[in-house]
């Protein structure tokens, strides 16, 4: 497989797509971990939502 005289443009496009997709996945995973950590912090201090108390 040869990419011809414009190989740099093809590789740059795929590299950019890969970087953006990895960035989006990392953002979603990091955000989830952060929100879980904050919720755990509140629960550890005894702060719970009204609906959580009713469910308990």
């Amino acid at each position: 497989m040869t990419l011809g005289p414009h190989a740099a443009f093809i590789i740059a496009a795929y590299a950019a797509a890969l970087a953006v997709v990895i960035g989006l996945i990392s953002w979603v995973i990091a955000d989830h971990a952060e929100q879980r950590r904050l919720l755990a912090d509140f629960e550890a201090r005894g702060v719970t939502r009204r609906s959580d108390k009713e469910a308990a």
């Binding site: 990419l3 443009f9 093809i10 740059a12 496009a13 950019a16 989830h32 929100q35 919720l39 509140f42």
Partner: protein, 243 residues
């Protein structure tokens, strides 16, 4: 389970928690098939040569750029008409994803344009209207971040989103209405696709892969947003208890 039950955030979290791993696996599998077809099966274009490979990521991202705004517009109707918080969550979570796909459509289009057109950028109708879409995504994200109360932010963002939806037909038909450097529609057009099946099939598989990626990331981001609102509620309760 009725569809309306999904509108309950707790049930939404439970259901998406079960669906997400399978959706992620399907996304990876379809990407693997799509990239195999692109790199080892699809022929080079008779005029563009191997540069046509850029199309397999440019076109799906361009479709998603518009499709995500359409999703946000439908969610905005849910916000304004039914005032449902899950509609706000859907719209807010989709905006950064739409911005990323639009950025990729612009960037890969530019990288495709340089060897094919001889320039990275021209201020023609298609390119400019997509740039406007990207700026509108940034505007909606900024609006969400500017207004502290999620309910007020949702209504303002919903109005901006619905006004911005006017841009979608402009983008789609810009290549027909004005004389542009961008080629006219070759897939979604009267008379059927103008692309040979050997290139059309990998393109559709890659489009499905990016669609699955969006669905996976959108559901995950919606879950995060629901958790963020629970954190905010707890923070307000704690502040109220302290005062």
């Amino acid at each position: 389970m009725a569809l309306i039950d999904l509108a309950n955030p707790t049930r939404f979290l439970a259901l998406t928690g079960r669906i997400l791993p399978w959706l992620a696996i399907a996304t990876v599998a379809v990407f693997a098939i799509g990239l195999y077809l692109v790199w080892f099966v699809a022929p080079d274009d008779y005029q563009q040569g191997a540069t046509v490979k850029i199309m397999f990521i440019h076109v799906p991202n361009a479709w998603l750029a518009m499709g995500v705004w359409a999703v946000m517009s439908i969610a905005s109707i849910g916000t304004l008409v039914w005032r449902h918080p899950l509609a706000d969550v859907a719209a807010k979570s989709a905006a950064p994803l739409g911005a990323a796909f639009t950025f990729l459509a612009l960037l890969t289009g530019s990288l495709w344009g340089r060897p094919m057109w001889g320039t990275y950028w021209v201020w023609d109708a298609r390119l400019t209207s997509v740039l406007v879409l990207f700026l509108m995504y940034l505007g909606v994200i900024a609006l969400w971040r500017t207004v502290d109360d999620p309910t007020r932010a949702a209504r303002a963002a919903a109005i901006l989103t619905l006004v911005g939806a006017i841009n979608l037909p402009i983008i789609k038909f810009s290549v027909d209405w004005w004389n542009t450097l961008h080629q006219p529609a070759s897939l979604l057009r009267m008379g059927g696709p103008a692309i040979h099946p050997s290139i059309l099939t990998p393109l559709l598989v890659m489009a499905l892969a990016f669609l699955l990626l969006f669905l996976t990331l959108h559901l995950a981001a919606m879950r995060n947003e629901i958790l963020r609102r629970r954190v905010r509620t707890m923070w307000l309760m704690q502040a109220h208890a302290a005062s």
